[in-house]
């Protein structure tokens, strides 16, 4: 009798702790049922190629959110990253790797500037990154005169080619692995989460809080720039309109993955799942030929449902 009861509680716990995976699984099954085109090699490959960029951005966003901050500038930094690489390659004939590294460095610096204001002037992350969002977008338009920069075949688009093993998918996977490791196994990951729980206590424990705070924004900016390059590679153009609204998708992915916007809670793997939830929603609606405007409405509803479930399970976790 007691055994059975205990088993029941354990099962409940298991469901609660893994609710993000369960949401994804259910969604996956629904997708399979709704469309015979869903579970095909081509479609799955498309999803993977599409998601390389949003996943990178979401991982960077997660680290910012863990500290209790938010980074609204990622979408604009994506655009700038795409434009910088494209301009350097197309107009100055530079090597692809130079372009990529320059763009990532640029993202790192811009993110670092946001982080500087957050850490050293106590500006709110929302405000500091809002300003950076505007500036980075402006810079992207200035750099390109508002005209997308075309890239020739066989240059940046090698990053999405099968012959090379879909480099952007590999790269995104590596980033997820790396940050999963950082969060789980390094003191850096530990301190980032601790910061979001109580930064005063962390500072009094002898940790130089400001450096860590600055660094998460720099990481977020760097990953955003990389994500912009992924998009440029897929479309073979560096467009200043890339990444519009991507910051919101990234935040959504974190939240569906159980992150708390107040900081201190969230994991890399669950954020990845959160990004996949968003991806599947978009993908299945495209396959079902749902027009784009209703798509947004449906997407919004599903996000609310997912987050509600998240909150609901959190509540029952407290009373267990």
């Amino acid at each position: 009798m007691m055994e059975a009861q205990k088993k029941k509680i354990d099962l409940k716990r298991l469901l609660i702790q893994n609710n993000t995976y369960i949401i994804l699984l259910i969604l996956f099954i629904v997708c399979c049922v709704l469309s015979s085109n869903f579970l095909t090699v081509m479609n799955i490959r498309n999803i993977a190629l599409q998601q390389a960029a949003p996943v990178c951005v979401a991982v960077g966003m997660l680290f910012v959110i863990l500290t209790g901050g938010i980074d609204l500038s990622v979408g604009s930094i994506m655009a700038l990253g795409a434009c910088v690489t494209a301009t350097m390659m197309a107009e100055h004939g530079m090597n692809m790797f130079v372009g990529i590294i320059a763009a990532m460095l640029m993202g790192c610096i811009l993110g670092g500037i946001t982080g500087f204001f957050v850490a050293y002037t106590k500006m709110q992350g929302f405000v500091a990154s809002l300003a950076m969002m505007t500036m980075a977008r402006g810079a992207a338009f200035m750099l390109t005169d508002g005209i997308p920069v075309k890239l020739e075949k066989g240059t940046l688009d090698v990053l999405v080619k099968k012959e090379y093993g879909y480099p952007i998918i590999l790269c995104a996977a590596l980033i997820v692995l790396l940050f999963w490791f950082i969060q789980k196994y390094t003191s850096y990951g530990r301190i980032v989460i601790a910061l979001g729980s109580n930064s005063t206590a962390v500072e009094l424990a002898g940790i130089r809080v400001k450096r860590y705070l600055l660094s998460v924004y720099a990481i977020s900016g760097c990953l955003a720039a990389l994500a912009g390059i992924f998009i440029a590679a897929r479309s073979s153009t560096g467009s200043p309109t890339v990444g519009d609204g991507q910051e919101l998708d990234a935040i959504t992915a974190c939240v569906i993955g159980g992150a708390n916007l107040a900081g201190g809670k969230g994991t890399v793997i669950k954020t990845l799942m959160g990004a996949f939830v968003l991806a599947l929603i978009g993908n299945i609606m495209n396959l079902m030929a749902v027009p784009s405007y209703p798509q947004d409405i449906i997407k919004g509803c599903i996000i609310i449902a997912a987050v509600l479930l998240q909150l609901f399970t959190e509540k029952s976790e407290q009373t267990v």
Binding site: R190, A194, R208, G264
Partner: protein, 497 residues
Amino acid sequence: MENEYRLEMKGISKSFGGVKALTDVDLCVKKGEVHALIGENGAGKSTLMKILSGAYQKDAGEIRIDGEQVKIEVPKDAKDLGVAVIYQEFMLAPDLTVAENIFIDRLSQGRLINWKQLNKNAEEELVKLGFGDIKPTTPVRNLSVAYQQVVEICKCLKRNAKILVLDEPTAVLTFAEIEKLFQIIERLKEQGTSIIYISHRLEEIFRLSQHITVLKDGTFVDTVATDTIDKQKLVNMMVGRDMTQMFPKRSARIKDVVLEVKNLSAGSMVKNVSFQVSAGEVLGFSGLVGSGRTETMRAIFGIDRKEKGEIIYFGEHIDFKDPKEAIQHGFGLLPEDRKQQGLLLEQSIRVNATLTILNKITNKFGVINHAKEKKYVQELLKKISTKYGSTEDNANSLSGGNQQKIALAKWIAADCKCVVFDEPTRGVDVGAKTEIYRIINQLAEKGVAVIMISSEMNEVIGMCDRVIIMRQGEITGELKQHELAEQNLIKYAMGVE
């Protein structure tokens, strides 16, 4: 026949999951009396009050108010029956005015508000409590903590509360403010309100209450009339053992001077402070709340900026520019407010315990050795005899005393040579207090120089080798162990000759 009791709670039981929080507890409160409810942290006081206020549902037992059996299923039921609870964290909207807060329920009725009338009513309520000097139009944010408490009480009373529960109301107040609170309590008592008073401070309980109910480990120990019992007996009832060992003996040898501070000034709270502390010594810092003790230590620790003065640490002139540098030199500080500054409440016990020693459990790439960490944490928790379920439980799942021990553990782990404990036993029950004293003694015996800031005089007297008293940012006196007595401490703290 008129019923003698305002509130009768009989045979109350409550469990959470498999854990019994309350077993067959009784609490009977007469009309117009102050009834103290005491017990160690985790004894079940809060659970009992949450059942009374409708936040929790009882599993068994009955509640009668004025002799009539009542059902309290949701907080609103309790309110309608005239039960009001004042928690330690106030339920006030800081940017609204005093009047708006008091009549916050009126604001939600959707009709136009007659501000003049509202302010007038608020003033009447405040005058009734004897606080006519609080302006109804002041934003609550601008009031002192004590006045905020008055507003909170006012808000509850205007619903004609018959039973008022005060949960540790004096924890955040200064001496003068406590006096004001006591005046209110006396006045309410005369008006016939029954007051349930929860506090760890026995002096207050003896001063205010007519009856005392003691809980221990979720069970009912006894209800006694206050004038038939003394402190010692009461403490014995609470802990179920003799508390002559409240302050355990220490066999530390005082050795060389570790820290010497000369003419330190910082901000308006630290003026020309000089003192020294030696290895193996427990140096007390006494004084009133706001006398500059915490600020002095913050300046030394590198949190606040120093204006002038010298700090000599192990014979060297130093100037810690931030806490990290202080800790690298083996200088630790346990902040006074464990919830705001000391602990990561939402993180696990393990994460909390190793926060100061991350560099000891990581390799040179910053990768944490989880096995080493686990071992470390278990050894540490054993040392401080903390009760916990699993090291993965969140810190806020622990009782106040055990939380404080975890916060302390960080500094034991960090292997400090000089540690400041700022109010280490605030809001901690008697049993946990003794264990914290024992931990402090162990540190001193190991040769650590300990500085203990405390506002509890008996604690300073029982624990310290030497005590420095501060008042308004200056050191007003220094007492050796044989000179330690409450009168002396008060004399210097209040500045009376």
